[in-house]
């Protein structure tokens, strides 16, 4: 009997402690009319449910662990007056809201949702429209950003911020977001161990993805299409990019992916299609580029002289104006077992591997590198003649840069 009573006391305690976390309904026509009021009366672990309607509110400070859930797509409009949500507590969930018009600012990076020095937060199923920065994480860890739609109509680069911006963060997952019209779609600076999966970043003013000093991050199944300057990643080690699409980035300074001072990284099974330059490497080493598809680019790969110990294996190069361009006569990189649509060698022993090596650097690409205006001569008879002569007796192209076992058929 004594045991029984202590059990009931325990149960009562459990029940009462869970019932402490309450629900607060924000409704234009209810007792709590504003989100500000709800945040004020809420205590730790409460759930704030925002009913549908327009809420013109900004500088909403979340400084306790709360679930903030939209019911019926409520719209929170910052009216270009400040930041919309600033989260300064762990374990916060923000879900199902439409957040608009976080103000442009000179000194502060106003965002639709900013997480500042927090852990274990979840930002899910929100729509962020025309914010200066959309989702901004600073000094945070173990957070997730899932299924958000981010749209901006930034028409000038200078007055627009980034879509998903991370600064000094670790263990962050960014999945299935759709980002457009911001300055950079996804931007990382000083980030560790982030996973970026299944996002679509398109029509951003500058880069679809841009990161610096962000080691050990993994990017897969993302689509980066039609961004002002493509994707640029720099000063980083241990990058793993696989199964991504880098498509349709045209312009003198546009790249499918620009790699600058990247080391010990993998670029696998990606698709580089219709870019001015598919993949650009400068000051990179120990990068494994394999099983990628390079189709219909101006330049499939530009490999700058200061890059070494990189390997290019089992890639398809199909219909590019130039397969490889370089600015050096030396080569410290390996090309092996790729398929080149320009290869015109033969395979007498029928082992699927061409009997003579393929030299992917055209003489003309060297000329263009030194004299960009000579590009008007592309496809001219004279240039084809020069290229043919050079391929027999290499004099101006790097003699060591060749694929000794070019594959005869497209690699699947």
């Amino acid at each position: 009997m004594k045991q029984f009573s202590s059990l009931t006391i325990y149960l009562l305690f459990v029940i009462s402690s869970t019932s402490i976390s309450k629900q607060i309904i924000v409704n234009k026509y209810g007792s709590v009319k504003t989100i500000h009021a709800a945040l004020e009366i809420a205590s730790v672990n409460d759930k704030i449910i925002i009913k549908s309607g327009n809420y013109n509110e900004y500088n909403l400070m979340v400084n306790k662990s709360l679930d903030i859930i939209g019911d019926g797509n409520p719209v929170i409009n910052g009216e270009n007056k400040g930041e919309v949500f600033t989260v300064r507590a762990n374990d916060v969930i923000i879900e199902g809201l439409t957040i608009k018009n976080a103000a442009e600012s000179f000194l502060s990076d106003n965002a639709g949702i900013k997480l500042d020095t927090v852990k274990n937060c979840l930002i899910k199923n929100n729509k962020l429209i025309n914010n200066f920065f959309a989702i901004y994480l600073a000094n945070s860890a173990d957070c997730q950003v899932l299924n958000n739609i981010i749209i901006a109509h930034g028409n000038s680069e200078v007055t627009s911020g980034n879509g998903i911006h991370l600064w000094y963060c670790k263990n962050i997952k960014i999945e299935n977001n759709n980002i457009s019209g911001q300055r950079d779609g996804i931007y990382f600076e000083f980030v560790r161990n982030a996973k970026i999966v299944g996002n679509i970043s398109h029509d951003n003013l500058r880069y679809g993805l841009h990161f610096m000093f962000s080691d050990s991050c993994e990017y897969w199944k993302n689509i980066f299409v039609h961004n002002g300057a493509g994707v640029a990643v720099m000063y980083t080690k241990f990058v793993n990019m696989h199964d991504n699409y880098f498509t349709d980035n045209w312009g003198a300074a546009s790249y499918g992916v620009l790699l600058k001072e990247i080391e010990y990284s993998q670029i696998e099974k990606n698709n580089f299609e219709s870019n001015t330059t598919g993949l650009y490497l400068e000051g990179c080493d120990h990068i494994k580029v394999d099983h990628n598809e390079f189709d219909n680019n101006g330049w499939a790969i530009k490999l700058m002289a200061n890059s070494e110990v990189n390997t290019f294996i089992s890639n398809n190069f199909i219909g590019n104006s130039f397969d490889i361009a370089t600015n050096s006569m030396q080569n410290f990189n390996t090309f092996n077992g790729n398929y080149w649509s320009k290869y015109s060698g033969y395979d007498l022993n029928k082992d699927g591997v061409g009997d003579i090596p393929f030299r992917p650097v055209r003489l003309f690409s060297i000329m263009v590198e030194q004299q960009p205006t000579s590009l008007v001569l592309l496809h001219s008879f004279f240039i084809n003649l020069l290229d043919a002569a050079e391929s027999f007796i290499p004099a101006l192209t790097p003699p060591a840069l060749m694929d000794n076992s070019p594959i005869m058929r497209k690699i699947n």
Partner: protein, 154 residues
């Protein structure tokens, strides 16, 4: 001989046009188009930026002060060919001021493009105003070179 005189005038005119197009004055950064000569990034943020002009009049443009300093410290171009160096005044976006005489503040409130978080100001007053509000370290051009040189070695 009116014919030859015309030619002389014509040559003079051509010369004037050529000379004027070689002018080394008023450098400008075309935001959203120009690329940084150091880090290759497209230059976007109008609060930051820098230009180095050589004696021959070639302008190297940078997205940030730290990129200019990196480029400068690497001696990419011989020192005796430098003509002038310019940085953007933080309080007046897109406006270039002389790098050597500018006042610099380093502070994590500035998210300068390459992560060194330094901004330039034309006068002590302008710098003090920002310092009073946000704090930070005040540096001269030579201080800045020293700080970034140490950082490069790390």
């Amino acid at each position: 001989m009116p014919f030859s005189r015309n030619i002389v005038y014509l040559l003079l005119l051509v010369e004037v046009i050529l000379l004027s197009s070689c002018s080394k004055e008023s450098p400008k950064i075309n935001y959203g188009h120009d690329l940084c000569s150091e880090c290759s990034m497209q230059i976007m943020d109008t609060k930051y930026g820098a230009v180095l002009i050589t004696k021959k009049g070639k302008a190297y443009k940078f997205d940030s002060i730290e990129c200019l300093v990196d480029f400068y410290l690497k001696n990419v171009i011989p020192r005796d060919e430098d003509e002038s160096m310019w940085v953007i005044d933080f309080t007046k976006p897109k406006t270039l001021i002389k790098a050597e005489s500018a006042i610099y503040i380093r502070n994590d409130h500035f998210h300068s493009p390459m992560g060194i978080n330094v901004a330039a100001f034309i006068t002590e007053d302008a710098a003090e105003k920002i310092m009073n509000r946000y704090g930070g370290d005040k540096l001269s051009w030579t201080d800045l070179l020293k700080v970034l040189k140490i950082k490069r070695l790390m």
